[in-house]
Symmetry: C2
């Protein structure tokens, strides 16, 4: 049906191995022969079958990317960075949405393993059981994690200065004169979020001027931010500033605050985390801690690619990279 290496060989009067060599640019082929073969391949519109190639070489030139949900703008940005890096290296990536469901995640892992991907990038394995994590580690292929989970040092990982970001937010709000603040977080177990909170608390505590922040937990979503704010406003109207664990929570917060008749930043200051594209567009434009989302994906994929190449050699110690964050001042904060 499709034209194979055999057809090219027959048509150009050489052996298939010569065709293979010519096409893969391996050394040791007469220039003329090579050119003739290439011409024939082109004329026949030959397309090498990478599946066969993969079977023979044991390399698929395919990487897996498991995120919780690609619709989350944070992940679509990360995915784009990862995909670009893969494209650059001539590989492609299969996209998996785990919804943070451990079972689903493991099924994806199995599927990727069976497809013999060269490596995989995975969002978070915090929800996996110890046994599942070990199973993953035992798979033998390179894996890099997109957020270092608490205890697992067995995998390479990339993450950002969550703690430092919290400190940044705290100090900024402190400078503006705020003394009674709150931290609106996601689920309690979320590692990155709690780091952000700890940094924030540390900054306030260290200043010696502010009260301990009120901490609320809910879903890490618009709805969650909205709910937490409702709750916050009903229990403590003395608060003048709040730090949201991510931008989307901040959006919910802003909405709830506005509905309650509060003006931002006059009545309430808010700082987010992530710096999603929408944050600059929103009204008021959100002051937030920017993390390099695209860069995270790109760097993660590059780490992964490097490992897939070093394969075998020096089982390479897991590597951990932490990228910087920065405070982006816009218009959602005012003086206390």
């Amino acid at each position: 049906m499709a034209v194979t290496i055999k057809d090219v060989a027959r048509e150009s009067g050489v052996n298939i191995s010569t065709v293979s060599r010519s096409l893969n640019g391996s050394y040791g082929v007469n220039k003329e022969t090579r050119e003739r073969v290439i011409a024939v391949a082109h004329r026949l519109n030959y397309r090498p079958n990478r599946v066969a190639r993969g079977l023979a070489t044991g390399q698929s030139n395919t990487l897996g990317l498991i995120v919780s949900d690609i619709r989350n703008p944070y992940f679509s940005e990360v995915a784009r960075g990862a995909e670009d890096a893969a494209w650059h290296a001539g590989c492609d990536v299969v996209l998996c949405n785990s919804d943070l469901d451990p079972a689903k995640q493991m099924r994806y892992v199995s599927s990727l393993l069976e497809k013999r991907v060269d490596g995989m990038l995975v969002n978070s394995i915090a929800d996996l059981s110890k046994r599942q994590q070990e199973q993953l580690a035992a798979s033998g292929i390179p894996i890099v994690l997109l957020n270092r989970p608490a205890g697992v040092k067995a995998f390479s990982s990339i993450s950002v200065e969550n703690y430092e970001g919290g400190v940044l937010a705290g100090n900024y709000l402190l400078e503006l004169g705020h003394r009674k603040m709150a931290f609106l977080s996601g689920p309690k177990r979320h590692g990155s979020f709690s780091e952000r909170g700890r940094g924030f608390e540390f900054a306030l505590a260290q200043s010696g001027k502010a009260a301990e922040p009120l901490i609320l937990n809910d879903d890490q979503s618009f709805a969650g931010g909205y709910q937490m704010t409702k709750q916050l406003l009903s229990q403590d109207r003395a608060i003048t500033a709040v730090f949201a664990a991510n931008d989307v929570i901040a959006y919910g917060l802003i909405r709830a605050a506005m509905e309650a008749g509060l003006r931002i930043p006059q009545d309430l200051s808010v700082v987010g985390f992530d710096d999603l594209e929408m944050s600059a567009i929103l009204h008021p434009p959100l002051t937030t801690i920017r993390q390099p989302k695209y860069e995270i994906g790109r760097a993660a994929m590059e780490m992964l690619l490097a490992r897939t190449k070093a394969r075998g050699r020096s089982a390479a110690e897991p590597e951990h990279r932490i990228l910087g964050v920065q405070l982006v001042i816009r218009e959602s904060c005012g003086r206390a």
Copy 2:
């Protein structure tokens, strides 16, 4: 290195073909034998090599998805729908970002073809040359397009009622008493956008009450919407309502209008198109034409999957599905 079908065969004292049959649930295997084999496979933690399987069967159980940019929330929604449908069918999808660059897109197509994907979903081929389109059509694998381009009927496609959406927007604004309106569009060649515009124009013309809408073209982005609005406001302040070709353009529009001191909806009404998640969150919440993004991806993938199965049988006439849109009324429009 990895455990293969041979190991399972040896370990369970049968031939590899029996193992294959047992594991694939083909009929004609003694129940006991099958169970024993399965047990052994499980004990050995055997993972079938799908690459080898693919080579033998000619099926990869992998589909390609080419979008312009996964960061575009419209596409991440579509991608999720597509991925869910694929997952449901036991397939996985490789993600490609074309940036609408014809060359890049063709390279992705080649790559997918070489990987022997069972089919592909592609965003738009409007930018491809006639020759490239033919090349695509000749590839022999099922392809479904995510927006029917003007002239190409050779491929299956899925799209939405763009024209009808324009009519909906026009009629709604008309009802509110608007008579001088504008349409903020993207690049002139964008097929879906011009359909939206045509529907809008038609509605106004048919009413016999409104002036012909002013039409502006620019980039289909926040920046584009912002620019067009600046231009609009500088040349015609009599306009009371505007229809944006998509929500993101509407965001830019709102921002520019607010900066110019206009209140929405009191001074200017705006209707968008898409109904992105952010549109409900924005201030003011955007009235817009909703198109079923997730559903588009899901349905497109289902069409594709159906075609990959019917393979060979009745070269199946290209199929075209058009999904409905609906007006979502929120708070960005007022009476003229």
